[in-house]
């Protein structure tokens, strides 16, 4: 069971307020998106949740325990895969376990069985630059997963990929979510991506950024590609666009 709660977060940079009373929740095995324009404070919010930054007020809690300003509880993945070029994929992926104090050998053993599940067979001894973009991203996801099997924060993880690879990754991600116990909070500015993947979507807009709307996507998972072209998909999309535009005016 994992339950992430973010309550009444306010954050200022010098005198400028970037986040205003942001509250959200993430339930077990849910995929929740934060959708909003670039520079709207989404990444700041992630830095706060991951503990890299302290909010000026507000609280972050995981399973009822306060983790505000503490690192090491939720895993964090950025748009860049950030695989270390000087480590083999195996050692890259096992790194969070080593950081937690596991021996390198043991860590490799723990990571081993997941390679197949993440579509990374036979890449153990390779270096990151020998992998394709999609594979690198999957390796980074595996590393994120091995760090915390509870909550993952993904900051635009697929936005650097080309469209075809991206949609393949979407399908793959929905598939893997069926198999593993992971709750995901997902930053994106791609509306289609948000609707396709999410159980719920928070719209984070305005200046300072605050949550203006929570949209629940009721479509059952796993979702096929036909969902992307369905009536209900368009309906969600219209709703989101209208909401975002309203804010812009």
């Amino acid at each position: 069971m994992a339950e992430l709660r973010v309550e009444n977060i306010n954050k200022f940079f010098q005198d400028k307020q970037v986040l205003e009373n942001v509250s959200l929740s993430l339930h077990n095995r849910e995929l929740v998106s934060l959708l909003g324009a670039s520079g709207g404070g989404k990444s700041t919010l992630f830095n706060i949740i991951s503990g890299l930054m302290c909010p000026d007020s507000g609280e972050v809690s995981l399973d009822g325990n306060t983790i505000t300003g503490e690192t090491g509880h939720v895993s964090y993945m950025l748009q860049k895969d950030l695989l270390f070029p000087f480590k083999t994929i195996e050692d890259n992926v096992a790194l969070p376990l080593v950081i937690k104090g596991m021996k390198k050998r043991e860590a490799r053993k723990v990571a081993g069985p997941y390679f197949q599940e993440f579509g990374l067979e036979n890449t153990e001894k390779k270096y990151p630059h020998e992998l394709s973009g999609g594979m690198k991203q999957r390796a980074a996801l595996l590393r994120t997963y091995l760090f915390s099997s509870k909550v993952a924060l993904l900051d635009e993880p697929f936005s650097a990929l080309d469209t075809i690879t991206k949609s393949a990754m979407h399908k793959w991600y929905l598939g893997i979510m069926e198999k593993i116990q992971l709750s995901t909070l997902f930053i994106t500015h791609d509306i289609d991506e948000a609707i396709y993947l999410s159980d719920r979507i928070y719209l984070l807009t305005g200046n300072p950024g605050h949550i203006t709307e929570e949209i629940i996507i009721t479509e059952k998972k796993p979702r096929g590609e036909e969902f992307l072209l369905s009536e209900s998909f368009i309906h969600y999309k219209r709703k989101i666009i209208e909401n975002l535009e309203k804010k812009l005016q």
Partner: protein
């Protein structure tokens, strides 16, 4: 085929130039453009090298030992300084300008001082080499540590990594290519530093040999020792390259792929 030819041309370009220079040089001495006692021909130099071979090797050994000890201490000191400067901002601010100043003092100017303080033994040589080698190593490493990807550092922080873990997992590895570039420079400095220190006082070493053959106007032997010194530097620099390739296997595979 064309590409192969090109790669052959690339490979032999430098040896060809050297061979060309040697031929011109041989011709100059053959036709007595410059008197042979002032500019011996390459063949004479080779003869001198062979006849003095055991003596040269004896002195070379001394110089190499000095260079190695000095380099070792220099690298260690450079490493410690770089780590301290990277980890503590105030040390960086306090020490860095002093480091730069130490490098503006000409080597030839401090060497006699060192001899007066430390005598004619190995100590002044090693100290001088330390002075010339620690700087490039410290600066190269510091730059290397700072070149570590900030986002990667943040990622490790978000995993709850300690400073030591961040240092071990990112900074050391990120600094390796810079480190080896500086080590290459430091290695050639170490040989030159040893020779200069020996020049200014000592009982053995290639620098001492040089001053002795200079006093007897043995130009051929002077050239022989000059070539020996540059050959030693080249071999050492090459060894650094080999070491670099062993320590950074990920770079090699990238090179092959290109």
């Amino acid at each position: 085929m064309k590409k192969k030819l090109q790669s052959i041309t690339n490979k032999i370009a430098a040896p060809m130039t050297i061979a060309g220079i040697l031929v011109i040089w041989e011709l100059i001495s053959c036709f007595h453009v410059v008197p042979t006692y002032m500019l011996p021909s390459p063949v004479q130099v080779i003869h001198a090298f062979i006849s003095d071979f055991s003596l040269l090797m004896f002195h070379a050994k001394v110089t190499l030992v000095e260079a190695f000890l000095g380099l070792l201490c220099g690298v260690l000191i450079g490493f410690v300084l770089a780590v301290m400067m990277d980890q503590f901002e105030f040390i960086y601010k306090a020490v860095y300008p002093v480091l730069v100043i130490t490098q503006t003092v000409p080597t030839v100017a401090i060497a006699p001082l060192l001899v007066l303080w430390l005598g004619y033994g190995i100590a002044p040589k090693v100290v001088l080499i330390v002075i010339v080698t620690f700087f490039p190593v410290a600066i190269g490493l510091l730059e290397g540590f700072r070149s570590a990807d900030r986002d990667a550092v943040h990622l490790l922080q978000s995993m709850g990594a300690t400073r030591i873990q961040i240092f071990k997992h990112i900074k050391i590895k990120s600094s390796l290519s810079q480190f080896f570039a500086s080590l290459r420079i430091a290695v050639s400095y170490s040989v030159v530093g040893a020779v200069i220190a020996e020049w200014l006082g000592g009982f053995s070493g290639l620098g001492v040999y040089m001053t002795r053959v200079k006093k007897s106007y043995a130009f051929d032997k002077m050239f022989a020792v000059i070539f020996l010194i540059s050959a030693i530097s080249l071999v050492l620099m090459y060894s650094v390259d080999v070491l670099r390739k062993c320590c950074t296997p990920w770079e090699n595979r990238r090179a092959i792929r290109k």
